[in-house]
């Protein structure tokens, strides 16, 4: 994973709450077996509306999504994160994220920054007044900056560390393989096994 410490890019106001992962990427786009090439699927249903924020010239190069509360709820599809990244987003700001979405973001180098709703409203106003304004998301200081607004954001220490170091989770865990093997030796024999297959 690429290291990320700070990102600056055009902020895109998405004035809506409860943007579930079915809206971020509808299920029909989940049939692909690749990890990339989902940019056309991002917000697919809303993109057909010429009024939709991503269809406005000022936001076409946007890379910081500023969303309402409860962003990324619902389905566990990591495709939602892939689609946001493929489109060009590097950070999403919201006052509350779906748990699984937030976890998936951390694995893929998309910064899910939890910003108080009051600050989101201020940033929305700034972006509406000056479309195309850049937003800086800085992991080192845990702040977002937009015009004269400087607001703190929350992200858990471990995710922040992994993002800043660009670390691969599986590689990290495999360093503890002896602990995994030791744990496996303590598991009771009656714990379920899928093999050999038993049938009713």
């Amino acid at each position: 994973m690429e290291k990320i410490t700070t990102h600056t890019g055009v902020g895109v106001p998405l004035r809506q709450s409860d943007v579930d992962t079915d809206q971020i990427i509808p299920a029909v786009y989940l049939k692909r077996i690749t990890r990339t090439g989902f940019d056309d699927a991002l917000f697919a249903r809303w993109r057909k509306d010429p009024e939709f924020v991503l269809n406005q010239e000022a936001y076409s190069a946007g890379s910081v999504l500023v969303a309402g509360p409860d962003f990324g709820t619902g389905s566990s599809r990591e495709h939602a994160v892939w689609a946001l990244k493929d489109y060009g987003f590097r950070a999403v700001l919201s006052s509350r994220f779906g748990d699984i979405f937030r976890g998936n973001s951390g694995k893929q180098g998309l910064v899910a920054a939890q910003v108080a709703q009051g600050d989101i409203e201020l940033i929305w106003k700034e972006l509406d007044n000056h479309p195309g304004t850049q937003v800086t998301v800085d992991l080192a200081s845990r702040t977002v900056t937009c015009g004269s607004i400087v607001a703190p954001f929350q992200i858990d220490d471990y995710t922040r560390w992994r993002l800043m170091e660009g670390l691969d989770d599986i590689g990290l865990t495999l360093q503890q393989e002896s602990s995994i093997t030791a744990y496996e030796e303590t598991r009771p024999g009656w714990k379920p096994r899928t093999l050999p297959a038993q049938y009713s």
């Binding site: 299920a27 077996i33 990591e78 748990d99 602990s179 024999g189 899928t194 009713s200």
Partner: protein
């Protein structure tokens, strides 16, 4: 889940007990700076949609799948529910299914393919095989993995990166969850089901209310529920924002499990039950949050909007934006009414639907099919309604046919289909058309979830059946009585 303030040996909640029994390596640290624990995963369920990129990751890194014997796969999201003996018509769906088959063969994973007796929705298959057991950790690249918590398992959905992580290591790095008790006391009235309990819970705490928590469903109303009804409740924990929901195992759990293909046997069974009996929240253990629901007061519940928290009792009218104090909730209501084509103040029971879908990992098990069949037996379907019945697994379908339920549905005029996720998310051809309105026993009423422009009302199997009779959202108590002889059989 071990709170830093609590020292070892003190009281624990059910979720904490299961967590602590699976710590491979403690993360260490305190409070906000606490690092994740490495948690062992007892059972990994796989399906075709969220696994191809994970298998590919293993292949690229030259890593084996660590524990094929703790892994099982099934085909469910893309599979057709008609003509299953023919090649899948949609090419991308067919490719995804074929990719799963190739991957499972290459990595030695047991797979139940379309046409196999054990094929079906991944969350129906695990429990029916007896693989889902109390006190185990279960994960799957699917948010409705919370279903398995009904057995007192710690079960939650994961993304594809985590699927690959479990394949490679049989573990996950996780921060402890907080715990929330959902106390449901009292007795459900006739016609009210576990689906109504969970819809009421979500309406009460909201789609984000459970975020960061494991929900433990407790109280006399929960204890009285069957395993299948408990699965319905735990299934929708994610719709309240919680990754997992749990019910402490009890005699109902043990009775369900005993004799299932992968349940322990003989001395193993005795040892397992002895352990399972310890899996309950200690009397003096504290939850991080508690919510109380009075089961006596619950009525059949139905959603009116585009997230599962936008629900009301079926006897109520469609709410108005002004009913909400919060500005975001007001805006969400306005948007939802527009999408759903509803006018505030309309009685929910006046809403006419086009389609009734009985199925999904929420409500597609034997009990769901039986209770729905009991309502429609001897009655006529509203002629304008299309009703689709999709059993959760091939085995459920066979059992239902052995009981003659397929005939009840067919006589009524419903379509009797093959098993899969089907119209819950419309990845296969089972979709709503633009503007089509559906009473659905599934779990999500999101915009376009069941098909582009489709309008979803989440309901219980009882409400689904009654709605298919009357054509408008209805509960069984709204139905005219049928003649004495038939009524007696139906009851």
């Amino acid at each position: 889940m071990s709170s830093p303030q609590v020292s070892v040996g003190t009281s624990q909640t059910l979720a904490e007990k299961v967590w602590n029994a699976h710590v491979v390596q403690e993360g260490g640290g305190e409070g906000e700076a606490k690092r994740p624990d490495l948690i062992y995963i007892d059972l990994h369920l796989i399906h075709e949609v969220t696994s191809p990129q994970a298998f590919e990751g293993l292949r690229l890194a030259g890593r084996p799948l660590r524990r094929p014997d703790l892994t099982i796969a099934t085909e469910d999201h893309n599979t057709p529910t008609l003509d299953i003996d023919k090649p899948i018509a949609d090419l991308t769906s067919r490719t995804q299914i074929e990719t799963l088959r190739t991957n499972c063969a290459e990595f030695g994973v047991r797979l139940h393919s379309l046409g196999d007796k054990e094929q079906g929705i991944v969350h129906v298959v695990g429990p029916q095989l007896g693989l889902t057991q109390p006190g185990v950790t279960v994960v799957c690249g699917d948010s409705h993995t919370s279903t398995h918590g009904a057995f007192g398992a710690l079960a939650f959905g994961i993304g594809t990166s985590e699927v690959e992580h479990v394949m490679a290591t049989q573990t996950l790095s996780l921060k402890p969850f907080k715990t929330m008790a959902i106390n449901v006391e009292g007795a459900l009235r006739p016609g009210v089901t576990s689906k109504d309990i969970i819809l009421a819970v979500i309406a009460k705490i909201g789609t984000g209310g459970g975020q960061g928590y494991v929900l433990e469903y407790r109280g006399s109303a929960i204890r009285a529920l069957s395993m299948e009804a408990r699965m319905t409740i735990c299934n929708m924990s994610i719709e309240a924002g919680a990754r997992a929901g749990m019910v402490a195992p009890d005699q109902t759990t043990f009775d369900y499990l005993e004799g299932r293909p992968h349940a322990p046997q003989g001395e193993d069974w005795t040892a397992a039950v002895e352990y399972w009996k310890t899996l309950r929240t200690d009397d003096d253990a504290a939850f991080d949050a508690e919510v109380n629901i009075n089961a006596d007061e619950l009525e059949p519940f139905v959603t009116w909007g585009t997230n599962p928290g936008q629900g009301v009792s079926l006897s109520r009218p469609v709410p108005a934006p002004e009913d909400f104090e919060d500005e975001n909730a007001r805006a969400a209501c306005e948007r939802a009414l527009d999408y759903m084509g509803l006018t505030a103040g309309t009685p929910m029971k006046d809403i006419r639907v086009d389609t009734v879908f009985l199925g999904s990992c929420t409500n597609s098990r034997m009990e769901d099919l039986r209770t729905a069949a009991d309502i429609i037996r001897g009655r006529q379907k509203d002629p304008d309604i299309r009703m689709i019945v999709v059993p959760g697994s091939a085995r459920v379908r066979l059992e239902a046919e052995a009981e003659g339920l397929d005939q009840v549905f067919k006589d009524f005029g419903a379509e009797w289909r093959f098993a899969g996720c089907s119209m819950c998310l419309g990845m296969n051809p089972d979709q709503l058309a633009e503007g089509e309105r559906c009473a659905s026993t599934s779990n999500r009423n999101f915009e376009g979830r069941q098909g582009k422009g489709g309008r979803t009302h989440l309901v219980s199997p009882l409400v689904a059946a009654a709605t298919a009779v009357r054509g408008t959202l209805s509960s069984p108590s709204d139905l005219d009585p049928i003649d004495g002889a038939t009524a007696a059989t139906a009851a």
